[in-house]
């Protein structure tokens, strides 16, 4: 072989090998996103990813994240946890030890957030889960935070609201027994309702299993029970089916939902069947003002639909993280030190004005927020109805 050619080839190869080293700057802050892109809830993963990318483009537009007078580049490490517990744990470990992220946002569902939180806590890396409502996620874990309110708060709020608004005495509940968020909320609602109206005032407490599309049997039972209102803390895809089937079975009393209704898809999938119903939410998209409205409009422009609560909560969580990093003062490059600093800064944040409302954090890292009661208008918009604060 031609000797010169060999040398040239070798040179090219070596530059290809060596060059990337120059590209990897030291002044980057890495933030891990642990999201379910595939598996049971791909929609949640998509919302997370979109919100995170929007946040990143904001930072990029500003030239980087300013910490202590210095601009840092930000890199997002988005990993798919396949909506599996073991996968979420692997992803967290990988992000902490391999990608050396400063802080983790996610996982969203409690099934993944509980074991992944353990990992984050053990490796002393701050993690904030925007959407997991299970108390175990943050309990006794100084490094784990969350961005959403807990079920024990939302249940009583709704029970009070229905009592004051409609003066009903008998309620029915329909929930997904295999999913911990609806189940927890259903139980807290039941407790609160029975606290108000005495034992046995929840006349039907019916359940189904994730992915069931047919609720006719449960709804028939509910209808017969003589309940005056149906409470169903389900996700938007199920809400559309539940409401439609209830109406087909001759149910014409109110149906009330929880924050999990708060997605643009609820109305899209449900159509006019859902008009006039109430649910609790982190924010009301139709009546939104200021930053919330800006976020919604921008998201809608970029991705074609109004963001659901996962996207909004992820956005808020990222802003909280941003604030914590900036509060840290300086990024030293010593990862352990920086991580501890971010955690401490997160724990110090006592008040935060997010697009999902103003929140204050408790000792456990759980926020306290106001709940907004939203009415679906006759145009299918989410109208602000009432705000309930703890």
């Amino acid at each position: 072989m031609n000797k010169r050619l060999t040398i040239v080839l070798l040179l090219i190869l070596s530059t290809w090998v060596i060059a990337p080293a120059a590209l990897c700057g030291k002044d980057t802050i890495k933030i891990g996103i642990n999201a379910p892109m595939t598996g049971d809830i791909p929609k949640v993963g998509e919302g997370t990813k979109f919100a995170a990318r929007m946040w990143l483009s904001d930072i990029k537009a500003a030239g980087g994240l300013k910490v202590g007078g210095k601009l840092y580049q930000v890199e997002l490490v988005i990993e798919d946890n396949e909506s599996k517990a073991e996968s979420a744990v692997k992803v967290n470990i990988k992000m902490i030890t391999e990608d050396e992220v400063l802080v983790i946002v996610g996982p969203q569902a409690s099934k993944q957030a509980v074991p992944a939180g353990d990992v984050a806590n053990n490796y002393r890396t701050a993690m904030i889960t925007p959407w997991s409502t299970n108390p175990d996620t943050t309990k006794d874990r100084p490094y784990v935070f969350r961005g959403c309110f807990l079920d024990p708060f939302q249940g009583p709020v709704l029970a009070n609201f229905i009592t004051e608004e409609f003066r009903f005495k008998k309620a029915a509940v329909l929930y997904d027994v295999a999913s911990d968020y609806p189940k927890g909320l259903a139980e807290f609602f039941k407790k609160a309702w029975e606290g108000l109206h005495g034992k046995g005032s929840v006349v039907a407490f019916e359940s189904f299993t994730t992915k069931d599309p047919d609720f006719s049997s449960q709804l028939t039972k509910i209808k017969r029970s003589g309940a005056e209102v149906l409470f169903t803390p389900q996700y938007y895809n199920e809400v559309a089916l539940i409401v439609q089937q209830a109406h087909e079975l001759g149910w014409n009393k109110p149906i009330v939902g929880s924050d999990s209704w708060g997605s643009a898809e609820t109305v899209q999938l449900c159509g006019k069947e859902c008009f006039g119903l109430f649910f609790s939410a982190h924010y009301a998209a139709a009546g939104a003002t200021g930053a919330t409205k800006a976020f919604i409009d921008r998201y809608k422009k970029e991705h074609g639909y109004v963001p659901d609560d996962v996207a909004a909560l992820t956005w808020d969580s990222l802003l909280i993280v941003q604030e914590a990093i900036q509060a840290c003062g300086a990024i030293t490059g010593n990862l352990d030190k920086d991580r501890r600093c971010v955690r401490d800064a997160l724990a110090r944040i006592k008040k935060f004005d997010g697009i999902t409302g103003q929140m204050t954090f408790t000792e456990d890292g759980d926020p306290i927020k106001c709940v907004v009661i939203v009415k679906i208008s006759d145009k299918g918009e989410y109208e602000f109805y009432k705000s309930v604060c703890p």
Binding site: V17, K84, E86, V114, V177, T209
Partner: protein, 414 residues
């Protein structure tokens, strides 16, 4: 060139490669322009940052291929002599030396990164599950769908045992025994988990082994749904919220030892008279029955045996993650385990090991591809099934003696 390198030589090579990585890995990686040591043979980094592909390939070639190849080649004759000497000693000793070397290699390899540790642990657990399903689907020739159910039973059985005894828990109150005892009682916990799974298996075995046919498939599927629904309704163990805060007992040596025990016992089982009877039942039940094989009992024993190991694997799984919840053990898990068994090969211990390790690592390596990963892996499996319908390594006996024996050249044997 490498045909006469004994297993001992390969293991030595791997050990050297790993120690090389341990001492030189970081500086080599930096020299090659990689930010740090490629964690899974360079796959993850290659898919994330294509610019780094040549560096990663070069790294893997230098650290793994080159050093393993050179060591294996050079040490071939001393390794052969050593293996021969070991073989003249009691067999357990030689096996222990090999396993010790294997463990040392794995330990050093995974010592580099916590991500490797968790990947390795879950891979070893996958090996156990795959192997135990192979006993039923491969050696017995039935089609069982209940393995996630058995894993769930094992996971919950073992977790309840350890959490009740050693952990101050919200659900079960204060611990009964000091937490320091937990590692010692952990084997008991796993065996309890296995027993619970085997008991559950009895519920399937009694109705389904009266006849031959596909009814086991649906009975076992129904069983899987039942187990999931039952755990969801058991508020004592947390319902759909799951059970967390298991003691941290499942470290790498524990998982490794249990996996070795599982491979060893299952291998002995399938090579025993009972195992042969099982194959006979699969191939011709009437004939087997005529040859005095008690077909029903044989099938029952094998089924319970498989369920037991799935339960043990489930117990380990729960303690590695330190959290279980019922929705982990659903149809998704079933598809995963079935794929591993048929990918590796039916009726073969080798096959199960290769299948479980292969698919676990593949799905870890392709993670950066997100959605595409779940198109590529099934496509690969379909292609494999078309070209090797019984899986990669099917119907091959796992002979430990042959494996650890020295490999002489033909002429030298003469």
């Amino acid at each position: 060139m490498f045909s006469h390198v004994p297993l001992l030589g390969w293991l030595l090579g791997a050990a050297i490669a790993v120690s090389l990585e341990h001492f030189l890995g970081t500086s080599l990686a930096l020299a090659l322009g990689l930010p740090k040591i490629p964690v899974l043979f360079g796959f993850v980094i290659m898919l994330k940052k294509p610019v780094l592909i040549p560096g990663a390939i070069l790294y893997v070639l230098l650290i793994y291929f080159l050093s393993i190849g050179v060591t294996a080649r050079l040490s071939a004759s001393p390794a052969n002599r050593l293996a021969a000497k070991l073989l003249s000693l009691p067999p357990w000793f030689s096996v222990a030396v090999h396993l010790g070397l294997l463990y040392a290699t794995l330990h050093m390899w995974s010592g580099m990164s916590a991500y490797r540790v968790i990947t390795l642990k879950l891979t070893l657990i996958a090996v156990m599950v795959t192997l135990s399903l192979n006993v039923i689907n491969g050696y017995m020739g039935e089609f069982s769908c209940s393995h996630p159910g058995f894993m769930a039973l094992g996971a919950y059985g073992a977790s309840v045992f350890t959490v009740v005894l050693f952990v101050n828990d919200r659900l079960f109150g204060p611990s009964l025994l000091p937490a320091a005892l937990a590692p010692f009682m952990f084997p008991v916990a796993l065996i309890v988990g296995g027993m619970v799974a085997a008991l559950g298996a009895l519920a399937i075995a009694i109705p389904s082994f009266k006849t031959r046919g596909d009814y086991l498939a649906i009975i076992s599927l129904a069983f899987m749904f039942i187990v999931k629904s039952m755990i969801e309704n058991l508020e004592v163990v947390g319902g759909p919220r799951g059970l967390s805060s298991q003691p941290d007992c499942a470290n790498l040596p524990t998982v490794f030892l249990w996996t070795v025990a599982c491979v060893w016992i299952i291998n002995n089982f399938v090579r025993s008279t009972l195992g042969k009877a099982l194959n006979a039942v699969r191939d011709e039940e009437t004939a087997a029955s005529a040859m005095t094989v008690n077909t029903r009992r044989t099938k029952m024993v094998a089924f319970l045996f498989g369920a037991f190991w799935a339960g043990v694997a489930g117990g380990l799984f729960a303690h590695v993650l330190r959290y279980v919840n019922p929705s982990t053990f659903g149809i998704q898990k079933l598809a995963e385990v079935l794929a591993m068994v048929y990918f590796g090969g039916l009726n073969s211990v080798y096959g199960s090991i290769v299948g479980a390790v292969g698919l676990s690592l593949l799905s870890e390596a392709l993670r950066p591809l997100e959605i595409l990963k779940w198109i590529i892996i099934p496509l690969l499996l379909i292609l494999l099934m078309i070209f090797r319908p019984t899986g990669l390594i099917a119907f091959k006996e796992f002979n430990v003696k042959n494996l650890i024996a020295p490999k002489q050249k033909r002429e030298e044997e003469m």
